[in-house]
Amino acid sequence: MSDGKNKISTIISVFLVGGGQIYSGRIWAGIAFALTFYGTIALIKIIWTGFNFGFYPLLVVWIIIWLYNILDAYKGYCYEPPPCERNCPAGIRPWIYLNYLAQDKPAPLSYIPFFEILGMVCPAPCEDHCTRRAYDDPVAIKHLKLGVKKVWIRPKARKSNASVGIVGAGPCGLSLAASLKLRGYQVTVMEREGYPGGMPAIAIPEFRLPTSVLKKEVDEILSLGIELRTGVEVGRDISIDELLDRFDLITIAVGAMKPLRLDIPGEERVCYGIDILRRAKKGERFEFGRVGVIGGGNTAIDVARTLVRFGNEVKIYYRRRAEDMPAEPEDREEAVEEGIEIIPLVLPIGIEGKRHHFIRTRIVDGRPEIVENSEFEVELDQLVIAIGQEPDIDFLKDKLLTDQRGFIVVKNGRSSHPKIYAGGDVVAGPKTIAHAVGHGLRIAQRIDQNLRKIPGFFAWLGKREYPFELKLLPFTERRRMMIPHRNSESRIKDFEPVELIPSPDEMKREAERCLVCPLRYRP
């Protein structure tokens, strides 16, 4: 159903209860509303015995039915969200684009920045909760993002003089900027680095996310008319007070870029994972020899896989078990395929030249504990630390509240300072791109509501949830498609993407595996 049709049906239903529903194709809903409204009016007319105060509740109920009928004509049928939608940190509705892909039609989706990038690097919590797991394997929701023909529904732009300054041109900052620009605000993005993109541009290695894809997506966002000022560091080139004067609202989306330190003797000569990834992306080569990587997150795995491609011999040291790693299991397996050894349950305690001292740990109640007298020594040429990052926000320490770990405390996207919003890694800690995009989109909504002074209830009223043509597909026995990977011998020699893109026909048949839970499972 198109947007215009929906407007006409709303107008019809104002004058004719149930008419709008019939116009938009929901015949039974129209009949039901018409019967409850006109039926009771007719009943009262037939049995009319004169006016009394029992007429007032009737009047109230008729008005309620009339209003509800208008709301219904505007908002349309509602579905219960399936698990993929509920678990998406970016607020994407995978089942809708899967359904459109299976029907071979272009999908009208509300604008989601970084959509294709999410299709390449998202850890896909939707697949972890997919109902299809009950039969075989989850639908390959993540990879199918690359096959969807999208028609972006953009929010209606309103002329507005309000200006919003965004610090940090990462996924959160850029998606917020795009979303606000589409709603008609003046947006300025400030970025410390010389180029936009944030963490994906700096730290996701080339073989997982090609720069060309990222550049295409970022250019698409910037072409909306966003003012980007690169090489501007807030706190050094411009002060936060100046920003508060210049803009109506500012948003901090600087991410968590400062690597955490281990605090062990001899830490002066270690490298940090983020620095290596950043410099490797710029074209620097690292030929250390024997390298040990400390950590178990995505950064640690990415660093190890980057270093393997420079011909190093890489081992990952992690203080818990390999299955406890916060990194994605698939990435971990791919790393092992590429010849990286994972040594679990060890903790570094000191460095003397090339001799690195470790101690063994054991897991007690889910927490690693040191095992006494189990020190051992490993000869390594270089130790790389990738145990996490924290935000670097000394420039606004006195403006707003932060928690003990240095992350900004927010409520509904707004920090303790009424003019400062915050989102992305600087709030939630190092998380995925999907989280950052979700934060960006949600903050955009909040900012829009606050600047236009709309109460939340009216914003909800105005939102149409399911203007889609969805079809229940027959159950197919097909198994999950195999995503072609390059073999590990060839892929550790270069930085070309590891995963190959399946053919469009295969993607369509994979999308047919979707159960369309809200249509299949309903009372």
Binding site: I44, I47, G54, L58, I65, A134, C517, Y521, P523
Partner: protein, 264 residues
């Protein structure tokens, strides 16, 4: 057998006195009216052959008597199958099942509202009837409007003796009836969850009844299909025997992993 077939049969099993319409004589007043239905349906319905359990309770209480027989009858059913009557027999539940299928805008009611039915049970059916010596719940009962109030007044079998009696209370009941229709179209089994005092009686037995739903935690993948399916909107994998469960076994039939099953 399909559930809707059982529900249809159950409706006609209790409401089949078509002679009242054919002979234009009003209600059935024979010996069967001494017994009450296990489900919620009005005894003033021209088709009804038995009496409403809630109406019977209120009659006894308004005569200052304790309705041992009705409580015992409902308790016996409750001990065996809990609230299964709501899912398989009740015609009002059937009406709600049909009307919820209409593709309209839906909303969820908050869970705490489900406690309102105990207020209706103890406030109107028990205390209200005892104090006012009248069937107090019947004064607002939308089931009575659906089955008796509106059809009887429109049909008027007693030679225009009903219509002159219409006053503010009838208008009030029509407004409740219209609101009831709107709410059951737009929210899952609104009447069962929020208003029904009979459901409140049965729901007290749900946790102790012999028939119980069980969830195999090893098989369950928490896909939430059962909540999408459930007419009462229960997260079955978390609370299989919640007071609101009407034992319609939709979750048992359609669970993708067959993790929900009927046990004892």
């Amino acid at each position: 057998m399909r559930r809707w077939i059982i529900q249809t049969i159950a409706f006609f099993a209790g409401n089949h006195y078509f002679q009242s319409i054919i002979r234009n004589e009003g209600f059935y007043q024979g010996p069967l009216k001494r017994f009450c239905f296990p489900y919620f349906t009005c005894y003033s319905c021209p088709l009804a052959v038995a009496s409403c359990p809630l109406g019977s309770i209120q009659h006894f209480l308004s005569l200052q008597l304790i309705p041992f027989y009705v409580i015992g009858f409902l308790g016996l059913i409750g001990v065996f199958i809990g609230r299964m009557v709501c899912g398989y027999l009740c015609p009002i539940g059937f009406l709600q099942d049909i009307l919820y299928r209409i593709k309209s805008f839906k909303f969820k009611i908050p869970n705490w509202l489900a406690n309102l039915k105990y207020v209706f049970l103890f406030g109107l059916v028990v205390i209200g009837a005892y104090l006012t010596a009248e069937p107090a719940f019947c004064k607002i009962c939308p089931v009575g409007s659906t089955q008796a109030g509106i059809p009887l007044v429109l049909w008027d079998p007693f030679q225009s003796s009903l219509r002159p009696l219409i006053g503010w209370h009838y208008y009030f009941k029509v407004s409740i009836f219209a609101l009831f229709l709107l709410l059951i179209i737009s929210s899952r089994r609104f009447f069962c969850r929020v208003m029904c005092p009979l459901g409140a009686i049965y729901s007290l037995f749900n946790r102790f009844s012999i028939l119980q739903l069980r969830v195999n935690k090893d098989k369950c993948i928490e896909c939430n299909s059962c909540e999408l399916l459930c007419p009462m909107g229960i997260k079955v994998y978390q609370q299989p025997n919640q007071a609101d469960c009407i034992r319609c076994f939709e979750c048992v039939k359609k669970c993708p992993t067959k993790a929900v099953y009927v046990g004892w």
